[in-house]
C-alpha cells in the first residue's frame, strides 16, 4: 500500500520534471514544476514531515511559483524557437553522460545508508511542535540570520526593480 502510493507520486514527479525540461513555453514548465512540488509534498507526508509538507504547498507551490507565473505574464515570454542544430551523436552522448551523472550521485548518497531500512507511514511524525521546539532552541541563531537574509532580499528586490528617477 505504501509502496503503491510512493510509486504513483514518484512517477508523477519524474514525469512532470521531464515535462519541465522538454517543454518550449515557460508557462508549461511552470505548471509542471507545480506538479513536481505537489507530488513531493505527498512524499513528505509519507515520510512523516507534516510541517514540511504544509510549508511546501503554502510557500513553495503557493507563493514562489505564483511569483514565477506573474513574471512570465509581465515579460510576455513566448515559446523558445530552436536556432542551433545539434547532431544526433551529441544528443545520445549527452543522454549517456546524464545517466552517468545520475549513477554517480546515486552511488554517493546511497553510501551511508544501512542495509535494512524501510519507510512505514506513521513510524515517525515531524509535528509542528517538535519542529518549533528545535527551531527556537537549538537552531535559534540560523533562524535569526535567515530573518535578516529575507530582509536583505526584500530590499534588494525593490532596489533592483524600481524605476530610475
Amino acid at each position: 500500500m505504501t509502496a503503491i502510493f510512493f510509486l504513483i507520486f514518484a512517477v508523477f514527479a519524474v514525469f512532470c520534471a521531464i515535462n519541465l525540461v522538454l517543454q518550449t513555453h515557460p508557462i508549461a514548465s511552470a505548471l509542471s514544476l507545480i506538479g513536481v512540488m505537489g507530488a513531493l509534498a505527498a512524499l513528505y507526508l509519507q515520510l512523516g514531515g507534516e510541517f514540511i509538507a504544509m510549508a511546501q504547498v503554502i510557500v513553495y507551490a503557493g507563493a514562489i511559483m505564483v511569483l514565477f507565473v506573474f513574471v512570465i505574464m509581465l515579460l510576455n515570454a513566448g515559446a523558445e524557437t530552436p536556432t542551433i542544430q545539434v547532431s544526433r551523436f551529441v544528443k545520445y552522448f549527452g543522454a549517456i553522460l546524464l545517466l552517468g551523472f545520475f549513477a554517480l550521485i546515486s552511488f554517493i548518497i546511497l553510501g551511508p545508508l544501512p542495509a535494512t531500512e524501510g519507510v512505514t507511514f506513521g513510524a515517525f511524525q515531524g509535528t509542528t511542535l517538535d519542529v518549533g521546539r528545535k527551531l527556537f532552541t537549538t537552531y535559534l541563531l540560523p533562524f535569526e540570520v535567515i530573518s535578516v537574509l529575507i530582509l536583505i532580499a526584500i530590499v534588494g528586490a525593490i532596489v533592483l526593480a524600481r524605476k530610475e528617477v
Partner: protein, 103 residues
C-alpha cells in the same frame, strides 16, 4: 498491507530529479526555465534532507529543509528582479543573446 518502502527509493528519486534539474539548467535557453530548473534541484535536495531525517527519527532534517525553502524564496525574489532588469535593458529572455557587457 503496510510493507515498508526501502529508504533508498526516495534517495534514487531525489537523484533523478537533481539530474533532470541539471539537464534543464544546461540545455535550456530561456532564462526563466533555467531558473525553474534551479528550483527543481532545490526540491530534490529537500527530499533528500527529509529522507535522512526519517532515517535518524529526528526533526533536524525538516528544519534544514525549511531553511532551504526560505533561502529559495529569497533567491527567487532577487533573481526575478534581476531577470526583469535584464529584460528591461536587453529586451530579450534568451541567454544566448545577452553576450556582451556593453550594449
Amino acid at each position: 498491507m503496510n510493507a515498508p518502502v526501502p529508504l533508498s527509493w526516495y534517495l534514487i528519486l531525489s537523484a533523478i530529479l537533481f539530474a533532470l534539474g541539471v539537464a534543464g539548467f544546461i540545455l535550456r535557453r530561456n532564462i526563466i526555465t533555467v531558473f525553474m530548473s534551479i528550483e527543481l534541484m532545490l526540491n530534490a535536495v529537500n527530499l533528500s534532507f527529509v529522507t535522512f531525517s526519517y532515517q535518524f527519527k529526528q526533526v533536524d532534517g525538516h528544519i534544514y529543509s525549511f531553511f532551504v525553502m526560505v533561502v529559495a524564496a529569497a533567491e527567487a525574489a532577487v533573481g526575478l528582479a534581476i531577470i526583469l532588469t535584464v529584460f528591461k535593458n536587453r529586451s530579450t529572455l534568451m541567454i544566448d543573446e545577452v553576450n556582451s557587457m556593453k550594449y
